[in-house]
Structure formats: C-alpha cells, structure tokens
C-alpha cells in the first residue's frame, strides 16, 4: 500500500509539472495554429546561429562552474572545522537569489572598465583594461551564479557518504588520491550529470547576462529570440517552435551528460560513529586552502561590490518605506509558498523514484522512474515569458487573469526550484531509504511514525537546504509577473527593476543589498532548523 502511495504522489507531482507546461503550450498552440507561418519561418540562419551560440556558451559556462566546484566541494568536505567555513557556505547561497542584472553589475563592479580591479588589471596588461564584455564576461558571470550552487550541491552528495567509510579509509591508510578515487569521486560522480545538467540549463536560458555582458548581438541566445518573438513581433507560432527547439537541444545535451554519471550503489551499513577519522598531509592542506581562498574571493568579490554600492543608498530610509516593506513581505510569502510546494513535490518525486528503483532491482530504469528523477528539470528551459503568455492566452476568456497572477508566480517558481530541491533531497533520501527501509518493514514502523522518528531526523538538513535553494531562487525571480499585470504582485526584484528604470540607481542598489541580506538571513534560519539532531 505504502509503495503505491508514494509512487502515486510522485505521479501527481509529475502531472502538476506537466499541466503547468502543457497548459502554456496549449494556450500558445491554439493561437499558433491560427497563424502557423511563424513556425516554418523560424528555421533560418538566425536560429541556427542563436542555437549554436546558446549551446556553446552554456557548455563552457557549465564546465567552468562545475569543474572548479568539484575541487571546492571536496576541499570543504575535507576540512569540516576551519574558521569561516560556515560563513563561506552561507555566502554561496546568495548569488542564486540575486536578479541577473544585480549579479551582472556586481561582476562588472569588480572586473568592468571602471571596476575596483580595473587599475590593477590595467597596470598588469599595460593598456586600459577593456572590461569583460564578450564571451569572457558571460562565462564569468555564469560561473559567479553557478559555481557556488554546484559546490553546495556536490557538498550535499559528499555528506551522504557514511562516516564509516572515512574510518575505514583512515584505517587502511588511504592518501588523498586514493580516497578521492574510491570515496569522494563515486559520490560526486553520481551527482555530476544532474548538477552539470542543471547548471547547463540555467545558462541556456540566461538572457539579461548574455545580452548585457555579451557586447553585441553576435551573442544572441535562443532565449533572446523567443523573447523577441513574443514582444515586438507577437508571434506565438515562432515562440513555440523556438521553445521546442531549445527543449530538444537541451534534452539531447542532458542525455549526453547522463552518460557521464553512474548509479550510486547504496551503502547498507548504518553509521556507527559520527566522528571524522582522517589525516590530511601538509601539501594537501595548502592545496585545499588555495582552492578555498580563490573560490571565496571569486564569490565574495562581486558580493562585496554589491554591498559597497548598496551602502551608498539610504538603507534606513529605504527599509522604512512602505512600498519596500510590502514588497519584502510579498517576496517572502510568495517565495515561502513556492519553496513549500517545491520541497513537497521534490519529496514526492524522490520517494516515488526510490520505490520504483528498489522494486526493479537490477534491470534498467524505466521511463517513469527517469522522469521522476530528471523530467522536472526541463521546466528550466521553458522561458517564464512563454509559460506566462501561454497561460494568459488559455485563461483570458475564462478567468480574471490579474487575480491568478500570484498563483502563477508560486506555481512557476516552485517548478523552477523543483530541480534544485530534488538535487538536494534525493541523495539523502536514497541513502536513508537504503539504510532504513528493511528495518522499518521488519519493525512495522510506517506512515507518520516513520516520518517523525526515522526519516525526518536524517532528512531535515537536506529538506531545509532544498527549501533554502527554492526560496533563494524564487526571491530573485521576476519572470512570469511581467505580462500578468504587476500591481498585484510587487516583489523586491520588481521594485528593484522599477527603481532602476526610473533613474533611481542608488535605491536599486540598496534594494539589491536588502535582497542579499534577506537571503543570507534565510540561510541562517535554514541552518538553524536544519541542524542534524545527532549533533
């Protein structure tokens, strides 16, 4: 009974995602059928160039974010006790919550033509520092966003390695190379395709960063073309076609990535000790510290630039403004609801997938199981504007679209956050299931009792991390609101852009800082509630 229950819940979660996406396509599709010309015309040289550039920059960005993240996560995992470690990990949650333009300005504040580092770079190169406009700027900004995210996700997967393995490694006298090969890499490799795919998709759909830092229209992604099709040329047929092209190309890349991964074989032994046994040689210590310092500088640099320009605003006055307080409330409420929904959906999917996986034993994973694992991720490459416009077209005759705006925002944000939540929850869930499932069946522990006594204590950390990711992501998002009439849902990013759009750059910088601080406060809360019971 329980088995079919969790599979059913996972099916419902998938259905929810399918409805949100399908509804949007249906809405645009009905309109597109009336005027299908754009669908055929979409296939031109422009599309080819945009598609090529999209994949190229996204693949490079993913590589530059994920490869260093493996080293950073490993270093963090090897040194569980150094001063500033927790601060660093908390800082790593902030970029996700920043609207793209804030991050772009942060990176430019550091590395731009007038950035803090420009004088140094000018004297190093012997000529005026030209800034980072072009592909390099796009890659740096994407890495600023995604390296910390990937690091946290890898760290999450490393933390599922049972302490006994470390003890064994220590007893066997394994050096860093051996323990990387035998313990750390297998854990991270299992997570690699998922994390790389996630980062790849975030970069595929990047829009503001690509245009702002790209230096010119030769840096045009499919997302820009979709946006263009839905704006000046209001052409749903073309927009749908481009979205499907984007979806198919990404699916192909993610499939390729999935060949890199390996299924994690469960470790059935229970942890008997929470103490860490390992000895780290001086050479490795230096290497790890260098990695960590570089990563900290890379992420903290732009954050510092955001802090400095934010402090130039009158923060006290800003925070006292009724509109800012209202927007902050709206942001927090919407982000909390989205996070709740995202975590619920992620839990359902993780549980359903695990049930299917354990039931099939040795033969290959079925389509349903794989959909539960990775299917929801594809929502990331469907532009919010497409979802918004599609639902708008579908609902305009039947419902008050303005009133539905908050529902749309929560639903879409939750789905956008779902892949992140799933990445955070799944490793812990699978590990817990492998350890506890049989015992619980033997002892007849199930339902609420099992949740409270067995699952919650080991999963709460992962759940709060997942919730944090989801909240951070929703805090920074303003995608679907634009078309829906924005007065009903004025969030902080919305107010930020609106200030920026009316010469109020100092206010905008102040709001960006408030947003960053809000996210930082959330990471504190998430850490506090998510602390593992046994510590």
């Amino acid at each position: 009974m329980r088995q079919s229950g969790s599979v059913l819940a996972a099916k419902l979660a998938l259905a929810f995602a399918a409805i949100v996406v399908g509804g949007a396509f249906l809405g645009l599709g009905i309109d597109a059928v009336r005027d299908p010309e754009g669908a055929v015309e979409a296939f031109d040289v422009y599309l080819l160039r945009a598609a090529g550039f999209t994949l190229w920059q996204a693949a490079l960005s993913a590589l530059l974010s994920v490869a260093p993240a493996i080293l950073v996560a490993r270093a963090l995992n090897r040194h569980p006790g150094f001063a500033g470690r927790r601060l660093l990990i908390r800082l790593f949650a902030i970029p996700l919550s920043l609207p793209a333009i804030v991050a772009a300005l942060g990176v430019i504040g550091l590395l731009g033509r007038a950035g803090y580092l420009a004088p140094v770079l000018s004297s190093l190169t012997g000529e005026r520092w030209p800034g980072i406009y072009g592909l390099s700027g796009i890659l740096i900004a994407h890495a600023f966003f995604n390296l910390p995210l990937a690091t946290r996700l890898f760290l999450q997967s490393l933390e599922t390695v049972p302490q006994d393995q470390w003890r064994l490694a220590s007893q066997l006298g394994m050096g860093p190379a051996a323990s990387f090969r035998l313990i750390e890499w297998p854990a991270m490799r299992a997570a690699l395709p998922g994390i790389a795919g996630l980062v790849f998709m975030l970069c595929v759909t990047s829009f503001t960063i690509v245009l702002t830092l790209g230096g010119g229209p030769s840096a045009t992604t499919l997302e820009v073309a979709i946006y263009q099709a839905l704006r000046f040329d209001f052409d749903p047929a073309r927009a749908v076609t481009l979205t499907i092209v984007q979806l198919l190309l990404t699916a192909a890349m993610v499939w390729l990535l999935s060949r890199l991964g390996a299924e994690l074989t469960g470790e059935a032994a229970l942890s008997v000790s929470s103490r860490r046994y390992q000895s780290i040689g001086p050479a490795e210590k230096v290497f790890n510290m260098v990695i960590l310092v570089l990563a900290a500088l890379f992420v903290a640099g732009p954050l510092l630039a955001i802090l400095v320009s934010g402090l130039q605003a009158d923060l006290a006055k800003l925070a006292a403004r009724a509109s800012v307080q209202r927007a902050a409330m709206t942001s927090v409420v919407l982000a909390s609801l989205a996070a709740l929904l995202a975590v619920g959906l992620a839990w359902a999917l993780a549980a359903g997938r695990q049930k299917l996986a354990s039931a099939r034993r040795s033969h290959a994973a079925g389509l349903l199981e794989r959909a539960m694992d990775n299917g929801a991720v594809f929502i990331l490459v469907i532009p919010p504007l497409v979802i918004g416009s599609g639902w708008f077209l579908l609902l305009r005759h039947t419902a008050d679209v303005f009133a539905l705006a908050p529902v749309m925002v929560v639903a879409v944000n939750a789905l956008m956050a779902l892949p992140f939540a799933l990445r955070a929850i799944r490793p812990a869930f699978d590990a817990a299931a492998v350890q506890n499932d049989r015992l619980c069946v033997q002892l007849g522990i199930e339902g609420w009792t099992r949740l409270r006594l067995i699952d919650w204590p080991v999963l709460r950390r992962a759940i709060f991390t997942a919730g944090l990711f989801a909240m951070a992501l929703s805090l920074g998002d303003l995608g679907v609101i634009a078309l829906f009439g924005s007065d009903t849902v004025q969030t902080l990013p919305y107010l930020l852009l609106s200030s920026m759009g009316s010469y109020r750059t100092a206010d905008a910088a102040g709001i960006a800082l408030l947003l960053g601080m809000l996210c930082f406060a959330l990471t504190l809360l998430s850490d506090m509630f998510g602390r593992e019971a046994r510590q």
Partner: protein, 333 residues
C-alpha cells in the same frame, strides 16, 4: 498529501477572483509600470482626476509599452481597459490595426513639435532620444550623429537592443532616417564604439552611471532628473546637428471604453494643465499640452533640438523587421 498546500492556495486565490463586480463610475486605464510607480505620475494623476470626476480611477500596469500593446491584443474585445496609456508612435500603427481602439473626442490644445494629427491616439508627453554623457570623463562630446559614428573607438557608448527595447528601436530609426541606405555602414563603424548592447534602458543606464562608459543612449530630458533630484550637472545630453529622433507617448480609448463616458472626460483631462503639470518631474518627459505653471528651470537648460525627426507609424510597422535584420547583420560581423 503533498499537493494540499497548493490546493488550499488555489482555493484562496479562486475566492479572491470573485471580487465584487464593477461599481458605477469606474475608469480602468492600462499603462506601463513606471507610470504607476510611487514616484511616477500615476498616484498624482489618480488623485487629481478623481477630485474632478467623483469616480474611481484604476490603473493596471504591465512592464512597458510593448507589453501593453501585447496585453491588449491578447485580451481583444474582452479587455477591461477603457483607456490604454503609454504606447509610442512606433506602436500606434500596430495598435490601430487591431481595430480595438475608437476615435477620441474633443481634447485640449497640443504643443507637440511638428503638430499632431491622429483621430485615435492623443499624445500626453514627448522627449527626444539623445546621447547622454558624463561631463567629467568626456571632454569632447560628439556634436552630430556623424561625430558619434566616426569618433574615437576607445570612448565607448552603451546602447539598447532594438529587438527588445524601445530606445534601442529609437536609435535604429534615428540612424536610418539620417543615413538611409548607408545605415548598415554607419552601424559597422559605430559598432567599434559600442561597449555593449543591453536588453533594456535600465541596464544600459546602470552601466553608464557606474562609469563603465562615458556615453549612453537616453533622452534629452534625462539630465533634468539629475539636476533636480541629484543636484548635479554632471550628466548632459549632446546636441546633434542632424536633429533628434522623437518619442511621443500616446493614449487611446478602446472600443470597450468608448461606451464609458468617463473615457472622454479623461482624454480631455489628460491634455489639460492639471495632468500636464504632473508629467515633467514624475515621468521626466516634456508636456504635450499647456501647463498651469512654468517648468522647473532645469528644463530650460536641456537640449532643445532645432530639428525633430520622426517616421510615420505605418512606415515603422512596414520596415521594422527588415531594418532590425539589417542592424543584426551589421552588428554581428
């Protein structure tokens, strides 16, 4: 179990949809969000008009002028908008083609340079596109579009993308009107000076005020904001010999709204001093009708172009795509 919060939420939201039906004496205006921002003209306009009409004026805001037109297109005959306020002359041909707008009634006198003739759309403010520069870092600002195109490539400008932004489209039309068939060559030269092309005005202006580039494409009225609000004359617009391309912002009554007597009343109000007095220092544009009091002296210090350029809306509608493609291939090389 897991879907429950969402169901509850949906229920709550559905309940809120069933809001009371429209009260008598209500006027709904669709506009862009910077109009209704707390510092924008919206709040003051609402107060002033409600004092005159004893009615309820409701603003509904979307992102910008283009989103506004799309929104009305999407809603079609079922639109709740009585009036759509915030289109510009590059969009009026498309808006007219929808057949969703009705001719306007009597309006006040208009002061838009070059005169105004349109049976549907009525202007409420205007400005000119201009290169705004930082006087502290740029000592020799360009004096013409030709200067800008041929000038020192190391002195950069930030512009906007005509595929996504109204000022971006404005510059495209400006260059086209001045250079005609030679526009692609001009763009190829100008490309050397372009630091980057941003999706919207906000991003480029943000880069400009951060000091990334000494020039940005903006409006002749932009320096007024800095002079009045920031008390600085640091940022100025460069006057160009070829003339400046105009942006005229207009409003139109929808066919739905033409049945609401308040629509006509508002259009007359919009061109009256009560409305026009609000515009300069909230929307940072020039009034399209007579004001009741003189503008802040800062506005006298602005560039007032000797020649204003503007293409016919139909021409823009017909050639926009072709010209954007031309721009793309010139800028992508």
């Amino acid at each position: 179990m897991r879907v429950k919060p969402f169901l509850l939420l949906t229920a709550a939201m559905t309940a809120s949809c069933l809001a009371p039906a429209h009260a008598a004496g209500e006027l709904t205006i669709y506009t862009y969000e910077s109009f209704t921002a707390e510092w924008g003209p919206g709040p003051q306009v609402e107060k002033a008009f409600e004092a005159e009409c004893a009615c309820d004026l409701k603003f509904v805001a979307v992102a910008d002028g283009v989103a506004l037109l799309n929104r009305v297109k999407l809603e079609g005959e079922q639109t709740k908008a009585d009036i759509v306020l915030g289109l510009d002359t590059n969009l009026t041909a498309d808006a007219r083609a929808t057949g969703l707008f009705a001719p306007h009634g009597p309006i006040g006198e208009l002061t838009v340079p070059g005169g105004w003739k349109d049976d549907i759309f009525v202007p409420y403010d205007y400005s000119y596109f201009a290169v705004v520069y930082d006087t502290e870092t740029l000592k020799n600002p360009p004096k013409s579009l030709a200067d800008l195109v041929d000038g020192d490539p190391s002195e950069k400008i930030v512009i906007q993308d005509p595929r996504t932004s109204t000022p971006g489209l404005g510059l495209l039309l400006w260059v086209k009107q001045v250079y005609g068939d030679k526009a692609p060559e001009a763009w190829k030269k100008l490309k050397q000076r372009v630091l980057t092309v941003t999706p919207g005005w906000s991003e480029s202006y943000g880069l400009f005020t951060k000091g990334e580039a000494p020039m940005v494409l903006s409006y002749t009225t932009s320096p007024a904001y800095h002079m009045i609000e920031d008390k600085t004359e640091k940022y100025q617009a460069a006057e160009f010999a070829e003339g400046h391309y105009m942006q005229i912002e207009v409003a139109g009554v929808t066919t739905v709204g033409s049945k609401n007597p308040l629509s006509e009343e508002f259009m007359a109000f919009m061109t009256s001093p009560a409305f026009q007095d609000i515009i300069p220092q909230t929307n940072w544009m020039l009034p399209a009708g007579p004001t009741g009091k003189p503008l802040n002296p800062a506005f006298d210090k602005l560039v007032h172009p000797a020649k204003s350029l503007l293409m016919a809306p139909e021409e823009v509608k017909k050639f926009r795509k072709q010209w954007v493609d031309e721009w793309l291939s010139a800028m992508s090389q």
